[in-house]
Symmetry: C2
Subunit: 320 residues, 2 copies
């Protein structure tokens, strides 16, 4: 189980780096382990990097990292984290899923960073497990893998599977691991070395609060936007929306103009187009079904709005 | 100046990676730039990695990163960040300081990550500038470079020099850069992609609050420890300390036992030994002068306490 005291020290953690992995996401996992060793003066953890072919792997910010071995050279791992970034689907092969399933059958504790959850799900290793993924991918992930219990926490531990949503969330997850295995004092000391003062629990929301993101605390405005976010597929009219938050249409228009320099209608449409863009780039749904899922009355209307917003037709925007 | 809108886009940032740099520290600087490009759909930033000899550089957690060029192959940088970790003094050569000074005289905006500030200070590039460094190195840094205006913030911007204290603080600094140049909305969107919900301003303290670190909110206990931290060189007696926080010796003993499972005397001594260890490993002060600076009445007593705490004599613990 994740977090149990290991049967022997050091605990060895293998990181499988897929091309275009996130360097900050990966280093958020590794650096706390190194600090745990340094501070405790003991070799609590050791780690190795695996790549698909044993060659260096290039991160999403174009850094080349050397690998210690190719997956095929490593028959058995003790604890494994699959680190992936953009386009994980490009790297799923029968060889890889076979190797991952063998790790699971050997009893490896298996986890994922960012879109690594997609890889594990394809291999069937998250069926009936709780797991998370980056918030941009949550909808498409839940849709594609109904057997996975998808949660939107920053990280999720479920028995011998674990996942974190990406970016800095891996740091919170590894601090949790260190705390479970070696105590609160060591986890706090690692945080301090990493100048990380606001450690978060698993349930912390992935995204900024609307208040923080928009830089406003107007409750009527926040409520209106939350309703918009929940009704992307079947948008309300602006009068219906105003009625929901108990203000006049005119007052709603005024709030959007004052705080966001736009109109409620334009803001609503931009949210629906953002969602459409995510679905286009992350799923294989047709343009027509995406236009319906984002509340557009016709594909032609959707395509016109999309082109105006992003300068490219939806059909051409499928490989970002 | 750091944060001014660049004269042309993309702005090019060069990272000089010294051996044993911190991978999480470096990626905290680069990944926000990559996201700023992706989210805006424009090439706002571009970056390259430099190493001393053009060969791959090995981070403190033993990751090998390829370099784009050796410093000597790059006559002029637009913006430069020196990323260093353990033992920066091992990599300061006349060639390097000469190259750095030439960058400054060409008008490069020059900054440092973690102990990179040490390198810039040796080159004289921080004289009369405000700068920060990792909290473990603050004391020795201020002592060695009296012309640098040393501050203990998480990052510090002063005209065309900038520095961050290490770990995650570089992320806050780069979000500040993105916000200054391209607005709050883009900085907030980058934060969200990186699952970083609690962005900090420059003045945020580097270390956890004592409350958070110790997991206690007892004000008498916190006050007593703060007094200990300020009096490492001339420690008070326990009765003096108890009087300072207006409780009895017995009550002070009880608080330490209850919350920290130790005695006030043992806790105080551990703090002084920690400070001694930092000075041993980061300065060339003699063991005798360090024992005095940490409030020990004799070097022999200091050496005995140190050996008991760390299992090694102070004179043998100078290269960790």
């Amino acid at each position: 189980m994740f977090g149990n005291y290991p049967t022997k020290l050091p605990q060895e953690i293998s990181f499988l780096l897929l091309p275009r992995f996130s360097l900050i996401g990966f280093s958020s996992l590794v650096d706390p382990l190194r600090w745990a060793n340094t501070i405790s003066g003991k070799e609590l953890y050791t780690w190795k990097n695996l790549s698909l072919d044993g060659k260096p792997v290039i991160s999403s910010d174009r850094m080349s990292l050397l690998a210690d071995a190719a997956v095929d050279e490593v028959p058995q791992t003790e604890m494994l984290v699959v680190c992936a970034g953009y386009d994980p689907q490009l790297y799923v092969t029968p060889q890889l899923t076979g190797w991952l399933r063998r790790q699971a059958s050997h009893g490896s504790i298996i986890g994922a960073q960012d879109t690594g959850s997609y890889i594990l799900a394809v291999a069937g290793l998250l069926n009936n497990y709780r797991a998370t993924i980056h918030w941009e991918n949550l909808n498409s992930f839940a849709e594609e893998f109904p057997k996975v219990k998808v949660v939107d926490d920053i990280f999720e531990i479920d028995r011998n599977r674990f996942s974190c949503s990406g970016g800095l969330s891996g740091l919170d997850m590894m601090l949790h691991l260190i705390q479970c295995q070696h105590g609160q004092d060591l986890a706090a000391a690692v945080s301090e070395e990493l100048i990380y003062s606001q450690r978060r629990s698993a349930e912390h929301p992935q995204r900024l609060s609307l208040q923080a993101r928009l830089g406003t605390t107007n409750l009527k405005l926040i409520s209106a936007i939350k309703i918009m976010q929940r009704t992307l597929e079947q948008p309300l009219t602006i009068p219906e929306l105003a009625a929901e938050v108990h203000i006049s249409d005119r007052e709603l228009e005024r709030l959007f103009r004052k705080h966001l320099k736009t109109t409620p209608g334009a803001y609503y449409r931009a949210l629906r187009l953002e969602q459409a863009r995510r679905l286009l780039q992350q799923t294989s749904q047709s343009v027509t079904s995406i236009s319906v899922a984002c509340g557009f009355s016709s594909s032609a209307h959707f395509s016109r709005c999309y082109l105006a917003q992003y300068g490219v037709a939806p059909s051409k925007d499928r490989q970002a």
